[in-house]
């Protein structure tokens, strides 16, 4: 087991696996090489199981790995297949042309219709031009061009040009034949590059897209990205919940709780047979969320509700409210129904009207103020635009006094606060924190801060 080295095919496969979105570190690469040394390449299923055990760490990654493995090890078979269309086309376009001339290697390969040799040349050219570094679909043409050039396209083009210049009927026919061949070659190269893009870059472009989505303003996100967004939101909520919902108390190792130790050991005359260590209780956050679903934030509220839904699943002690003109509690709707109907239900009950913050806060005071305690964190998601109705800061002030703190997440940029009918600056003094929150990333950070503080 001394000379462990990642053999060439394995090294390339690891690259493919990374492309498919698996996180393969250098250490895992070494493990994979050791494992392959042990089992060898002969038995495909054993190899697949082996690498799967070393590389893929979640069911999701397992699925991606399986796909990548199949794609990569099937690649050998592409070659024969992928010249077929080219062959058919050449049969149709250039039926009666004499041979001879040859000379140039690519030209002769094309003329002889030597598919195996062409495929090999293409593989070599692709490898030389670093196809495994391809990342985005916009690079397709670039790589296709590079491969063609490495295969000797320039020389061939010069030849064709020379044949055209010669102006003999034979030369012209041959030029036409060859340029037809070049066209079909170009198609197969592009096809080849596309397959490689799929192989090497799918994970990356997926990740790129997710990163982009996380930092796009929620109101600008397309409908078609909704599903992806939902997955992201759920992941995020689950992550947050796993981190904070789990622990209730933490033992402070090495700090003796003298008082309780003495008490426990009274029976032995105070000789401390049983030690008691200090503990710190970690409070679970008690959260009330008020979410604006009025027309002015309609594009946002979809996502806010989505997040509210996810949070509802994650945290035990949370009550949710939605408001526009007036306010209702939606905890039950979110709890009992799946996400889509729940959101639709809320929006149809109360959504899309013009918002009246003052009225909604008054509703809250009437119905639920008595449930607010010194331990409650109140989160308000909204733009603070009350359509020039009375903002009822008196109610808001009382809420602020009763609760532990109020956090206001506003989807508008700071520059827009206080303009027009925005009452943001009137509410702000009563809030512990007022912050801009219009991307998924903002939302995550805000919630994280809140949970951190709850300790």
């Amino acid at each position: 087991m001394a000379g462990v080295s990642a053999s060439e095919p394995l090294r390339r496969f690891l690259q493919v696996a990374r492309g498919a979105g698996l996180l393969v570190s250098a250490a895992e690469g070494i493990d994979a090489a050791r494992a392959v040394d042990l089992v060898g390449f002969e038995d495909r299923t054993v190899l697949k199981d082996t690498l799967g055990l070393v590389l893929a760490k979640t069911p999701d990654e397992k699925a991606r790995y399986d796909e990548a493995f199949e794609l990569y090890f099937r690649r050998g078979e592409f070659d024969a297949k992928h010249d077929d269309p080219a062959a058919e086309r050449s049969d149709a376009s250039g039926p009666a042309v004499s041979d001879g001339m040859g000379g140039q290697s690519l030209g002769s390969l094309l003329a002889d219709d030597d598919r195996a040799a062409l495929a090999t040349a293409m593989e070599q050219a692709a490898r030389a031009s670093g196809i495994e570094n391809i990342r985005f679909f916009t690079q397709k043409n670039l790589y296709a061009r590079r491969i063609m050039e490495r295969m000797g396209l320039r020389a061939l083009e010069r030849d064709i040009e020379a044949l055209r210049q010669s102006a003999t009927p034979d030369g012209l026919g041959r030029a036409r034949f060859l340029s037809g061949k070049v066209e079909s070659l170009r198609d197969s190269v592009r096809d080849f590059v596309e397959r490689n893009l799929l192989l090497f870059a799918r994970g990356d472009s997926e990740k790129f897209r997710e990163d982009l989505l996380k930092s796009t303003r929620l109101s600008n996100i397309d409908r078609r990205d909704l599903d992806r967004m939902r997955v992201l939101v759920r992941q995020m909520a689950k992550k947050l919940a796993a981190r904070y919902a789990h622990r209730k108390r933490r033992r402070l190792r090495g700090q003796l709780d003298t008082r309780r130790t003495l008490r426990r050991n009274m029976g032995w005359g105070g000789i401390p047979f049983i030690t008691v260590w200090k503990q710190r209780r970690i409070e679970k956050p008690r959260v009330m969320v008020l979410c604006d679903v009025s027309g002015s934030v309609a594009a946002m509220s979809q996502f806010l509700l989505m997040f509210l839904y996810a949070l509802n699943e994650a945290l035990a002690d949370i009550r949710s409210f939605a408001f526009a003109g007036s306010l209702i509690e939606v905890s039950e709707i979110l709890e009992k129904q799946p996400i889509e109907p729940a959101i639709a239900d809320i929006m149809s009950t109360i959504g899309f009207g013009s918002s009246n913050y003052g009225n909604s806060f008054a509703d809250f005071e009437d119905g639920w103020m008595r449930h607010v305690t010194k331990k409650t964190t109140v989160i308000i998601l909204g733009d603070g635009r009350g359509n020039r109705a009375d903002p009822r800061t008196d109610v808001f002030g009382r809420l602020s006094l009763r609760s532990k703190r109020i956090i206001w997440l506003n989807p508008e940029y700071r520059s827009a606060w206080g303009t027009g009918d925005s009452d943001m600056y009137r509410y702000a003094p009563f809030c512990r924190l007022v912050t801009v929150c219009n991307t998924l990333r903002h939302l995550e950070r805000a919630i994280e801060d809140m949970l951190e503080d709850a300790v």
Binding site: L53, T58, F273
Partner: protein, 317 residues
């Protein structure tokens, strides 16, 4: 070294040997599972086993231990588990008791010393005794390193433990050694085979996952499940066996809160054996369904399909 020596006559010489050995111990493994055990031994890496409850994650560790005739050391994880429960603890009570007993003898130890320094010197020689192996209570992790012939260490339901504990495990999982401040670093005499199980109630850290082989055990297919039942419930009639496996497989396709796992199929097969059944029939199934399904809502939901599923299962010959 000893690894090579073991590999020579080792029952772990090839993947097939692992598969045969496990089946002798009563565990019917698929190819992937035996590959994992084989690799784990040769690469000296722990296996992280994930999968739904009752597919035989814990059973795998038991069978490996039984087959290799190694002691199985099991550590059940739970919230709040810390190193004093997992690794080692000083026998505090014993230390205290000894000092109390020896209190009166203290004069004879330091009696002749005139100065404080001399007395302290004598005490120093004495004091180290209290932090030696005699007063060390080894917990599962340390015990697994101290076994002279190696051991199978099962760290059960690692996802139930805290994140801090997971980080603490990293040293033992990658280097098979632990550091005890008063004594020093203890390394494994023979590298133990380590299995961790997880029901994925929370995501494990990347650092932990990176150090392990990741084995996902799902529900077995019909053929494999039949073999498993046959090995676990020996006396069962072959036709009944096929019928009940087919029934359970169909049940898993329904939309249930908790689908029946392999261990529940085994229980059900035992019930059938006890009742001297030779053929499935709807009434019997209805009466014994609570062995398979553990939620009232599930039993209700399955109740409607029962006749159809039983019929289909009876077609199997």
């Amino acid at each position: 070294m000893d690894d090579a020596a073991r590999a020579g006559a080792s029952p772990l010489a090839s993947i097939d040997a692992v598969e045969r050995g496990l089946s002798r111990a009563g565990y019917i493994a698929n190819r992937q599972i035996s590959t994992a055990v084989y690799l784990s031994h040769h690469l000296q890496k722990p296996i992280l086993v994930e999968g739904p409850a009752g597919v035989g994650k814990t059973e795998l560790a038991k069978s490996v231990a039984a087959w290799l005739k190694l002691p199985l050391i099991r550590m059940q994880c739970y919230e709040g588990l810390d190193e004093s429960k997992a690794l080692y603890e000083w026998k505090y009570g014993k230390q205290l008791l000894y000092t109390q007993i020896l209190k009166d003898k203290i004069n004879s130890v330091i009696g002749v010393a005139d100065t404080l320094a001399a007395a302290l010197d004598k005490l120093h020689a004495f004091g180290d005794v209290f932090f030696s192996d005699q007063f060390l209570e080894p917990r599962p992790l340390l015990r697994s390193l101290q076994e002279p012939d190696g051991a199978v260490l099962l760290i059960d339901e690692i996802d139930k433990s805290d994140q801090e504990f997971e980080a603490f495990l990293l040293e033992i999982l990658s280097d098979y050694q632990v550091t005890i401040p008063e004594i020093g670093t203890v390394s494994a005499m023979v590298t133990p085979i380590v299995l961790l199980t997880s029901n994925s109630t929370r995501d494990l850290g990347d650092a932990l996952k990176r150090r392990c082989l990741h084995l996902h055990i799902g529900f077995p297919d019909e053929k494999l499940e039949a073999r498993i039942i046959a090995s676990r419930v020996p006396g069962i009639d072959a036709r009944l066996l096929r019928q009940l496996v087919s029934f359970v497989q169909q049940l898993r396709a329904l939309d249930l809160k908790k689908v029946p796992s392999v261990s529940e199929t085994i229980d059900w097969a035992k019930v059938m054996l006890l009742l001297h059944t030779s053929v499935l029939d709807v009434d019997l199934v209805r009466d014994t369904l609570n062995v398979l399904l553990k939620f009232e809502a599930d039993i209700e939901a399955a109740g409607k399909e029962l006749a159809a599923i039983t019929d289909k299962a009876r077609q199997v010959v």
